[in-house]
């Protein structure tokens, strides 16, 4: 039997600072190697919270349930340990860090992962070669690496840089939080091609999106609808099509899809 890449069981999450606020009320989700899943849901339904909890953000407290990554419980691991185990979160809002070049940042990140894996660090020449290959694969300008992390990047550039980072780190699970938002059609195509180029029998993706549009480029195996902190419907890619017709009304939410 294959081990799931990600196995979330009955996940309840509340705010660390305000325990009265529970955001996720029992989420179940299993992603097998090679699968692409999508989560859709109205604003405020808890999609980013789920993504951040998976990445290890400390603002949230898990009160019930488990998260297993490649068969290991990761709830006690720090964000760095999860990243080095192969989990990657592409942020909805990547932060700008003036003063650190993208190059320095990624060199440190790649070598941190190698050290965690018990491998030798790459030297400068090996790193540059690796970055060049990935820049070509993901179709991002190599010059981006010379700029400071996300500083002054356009919305589209930030999203492309996130995908590039995932490729550079060679993560096996990519959680993409609204990576498509704010992209024009060309950028969407480039980002999608980048993601598709990483799809393989052992990679998995969780695409958080409001738009069926993305799912036409990166075709998901499973689509889940998250409403008010619970998955209310799961199915194949047809679920996304239906949602486009009906909106969230059948789930008791009156808000246009894609808001």
């Amino acid at each position: 039997m294959t081990t799931p890449l990600l196995d979330i069981k009955n996940l309840h999450v509340r705010l660390e600072d305000d325990p009265a606020v529970e955001i996720l009320h029992g989420v179940d989700l299993r992603i097998m190697p090679g699968e692409v899943h999508s989560i859709m849901g109205p604003n405020g339904s808890g999609k980013s919270t789920l993504a951040q909890v998976l990445a290890g953000k400390e603002d949230y407290e898990i009160t019930e349930g488990t998260i297993a990554f490649q068969g290991e419980d990761i709830t006690e691991l720090g964000p760095d340990e999860r990243a080095n185990a192969g989990l990657f979160l592409a942020f909805q809002y990547p932060v700008e860090i003036p003063g650190v070049s993208a190059m320095q940042f990624l060199k440190a990140a790649v070598n941190a992962k190698r050290v965690a894996e018990g491998k030798d660090e790459l030297d400068a020449a090996q790193l540059l070669k690796h970055f060049r290959e990935k820049a070509t694969q993901i179709n991002v300008p190599y010059e981006m690496l010379k700029r400071n992390v996300n500083e002054g990047f356009s919305g589209g550039e930030k999203k492309r840089f996130e995908i590039f980072q995932m490729a550079v780190l060679g993560s096996v699970l990519g959680i993409l939080d609204e990576t498509d938002s704010g992209l024009d059609i060309d950028a969407l195509r480039i980002v999608s091609e980048g993601v598709n180029s990483m799809r393989s029998a052992d990679h998995g993706f969780l695409l958080i999106t409001h738009y069926n549009r993305l799912l036409e480029y990166i075709v998901p195996d499973h689509v889940h609808i998250l409403v008010k902190g619970k998955i209310v419907k799961s199915g194949g890619k047809e679920v996304a099509h239906e949602l486009e017709q009906t909106g969230y009304a059948p789930f008791g939410v009156h808000e246009p899809v894609g808001a």
Binding site: D80, F88, L89, P98, Q104, L106, A109
Partner: protein, 449 residues
């Protein structure tokens, strides 16, 4: 040389008679006036606005001597304080005394700086080039309102005199390296540098304070006077890495004539108690002054920065950018005084002070003080104090960096902007490395600047 035989507080030390060579006696009236000013001003207490956040009790209680014998220090040790990759000329002082044996020889100076440039120890200028230095020395400090300036006037000892003639660009920076060693008794020294850039001249000077021992107790009360004539460009660096048991008061006075450009870069890393005064007067129209600084404290270091930027002519710009990074129980002070005289119309003054506190016990006192007497003035100022942004730490950790490395990189990033303004790449690199070495748990972090 005078060696104190009995305990001497600083006030008493300046009154001890010295063997001042006859050739320096023309400066005695200036020294005497300094002594009078010192007695008149007295030590500042808390009611003195300029010293409100800095307590001098420990300094006042220390027994100082005014000089010690030449320390035994090897050329190798001195070489260790060189700035890697920097092609400079170096004048070395050990415990305040000029060390010809450790400094670059006059022919190297002439070779690197040009034969028409004067660069020598201050006492040599006082004794042999009186006509050259007399119009300048003490001119910016003659009427002191601060007790340390008065003390310096009273105690002019040695230092460096640099004069760059009209239109000459000196490419090689002058590195004034002051090394403190452990001495039997704390020594108080009063280095004074006088830098004269004539019309259109360019020069870069580094004042560099280091020690061979973090246990060494001493006072360096340094005064530098910069005269930038019309169109002159002077870049001044203060790299302070004193013993963490020592006192350092550094005062940079600058006089900017028409369209002169003075850059002051300061990095405070060492010292138990440091007071850094930057006091430019923009005296000619269209002068420009950049005041760039970083103070990095840990332990119980106290790092006080007092700016006084005087706009005394129209159409001048001043830019102050100071950042503080404070850990443990250290304390930072930033006072940004800007005085815009009535004549100084169309002044454009910017002041920014940002602080990062790395621990709950670190503290900073930041205050702008604007005195504006002209009506057509652009003056912006802002200060912020915060911790390392947890969202940024999370972002870096989510890429696999440990919390320590993530924080160190972010702290470094905070400081990097200030390094970026420094023209000399080797200085940037050295400072970056030294700053990283001071950050908690940042070992192994390598950053290129």
């Amino acid at each position: 040389m005078t060696l104190a035989t009995e305990p001497h507080k600083l006030d008493a030390v300046i009154d001890t008679s010295r063997d001042i060579p006859e050739c320096q006696s023309w400066l005695n009236p200036f020294r005497d006036a300094g002594r009078e000013a010192f007695n008149r001003l007295g030590w500042p207490d808390r009611r003195n606005e300029s010293w409100r956040f800095t307590n001098l009790d420990a300094l006042k209680a220390t027994n100082f001597v005014s000089a010690v014998d030449d320390a035994d220090i090897s050329a190798n040790t001195v070489g260790g304080f060189a700035i890697p990759e920097l092609d400079d000329v170096t004048l070395v002082f050990v415990n305040g005394r000029f060390r010809e044996d450790l400094s670059d020889a006059p022919d190297k100076l002439a070779n690197k700086l040009g034969t028409n440039v004067t660069c020598c120890r201050l006492t040599e200028a006082i004794c042999q080039h009186r006509e050259s230095i007399e119009p300048f020395i003490g001119k910016l400090t003659a009427d002191p309102d601060d007790v340390f300036t008065a003390l310096s006037n009273a105690s002019v000892e040695d230092g460096v005199f640099i004069r760059v003639p009209r239109g000459v660009t000196v490419d090689t920076p002058v590195h004034i390296l002051s090394i403190a060693t452990e001495t039997d008794e704390p020594v108080a020294t009063h280095p004074r540098n006088v830098i004269v850039a004539e019309e259109g001249a360019h020069v870069t000077v580094l004042e560099h304070y280091v020690t061979t021992s973090d246990d060494a107790v001493y006072l360096n009360n340094a005064v530098t006077e910069v005269f930038a004539d019309a169109e002159a460009v002077v870049h001044h660096y203060l790299l302070e890495k004193e013993s963490e048991s020592a006192f350092n008061v550094s005062s940079l006075f600058a006089h900017l004539a028409e369209h002169a450009d003075v850059h002051s870069h300061t990095v405070l890393l060492g010292g138990k108690l440091v007071r850094n005064n930057v006091l430019p007067t923009l005296a000619g129209p269209r002068a420009h002054c950049l005041i760039n600084g970083l103070y990095v404290g840990h332990g119980d270091q106290h790092l006080d920065n007092a700016m006084r930027v005087n706009h005394a002519a129209p159409d001048c710009d001043s830019r102050q950018f100071y950042k503080g990074i404070l850990n443990d129980q250290s304390r930072g002070v930033f006072t940004g005084r800007i005085i815009v005289d009535q004549v100084a119309q169309r002044t454009d003054a910017v002041q920014s002070n940002r602080n990062m506190l790395l621990s709950d016990d670190a503290r900073v006192n930041a205050r702008p003080q604007l005195e504006i007497y002209a009506d057509d003035v652009k003056c912006t100022h802002g200060c912020t104090t915060g911790a390392v942004d947890p969202e940024n730490v999370f972002y870096f950790m989510s890429r696999g960096l440990s919390e320590d490395v993530a924080r160190a990189m972010l702290i470094y990033a905070f400081a990097a902007e200030g390094f970026g303004r420094m023209e000399l790449a080797p200085v940037r690199q050295l400072l970056a490395a030294e700053m990283i070495a001071k950050l908690p748990k940042a070992q192994g972090l390598s950053i290129e600047v």
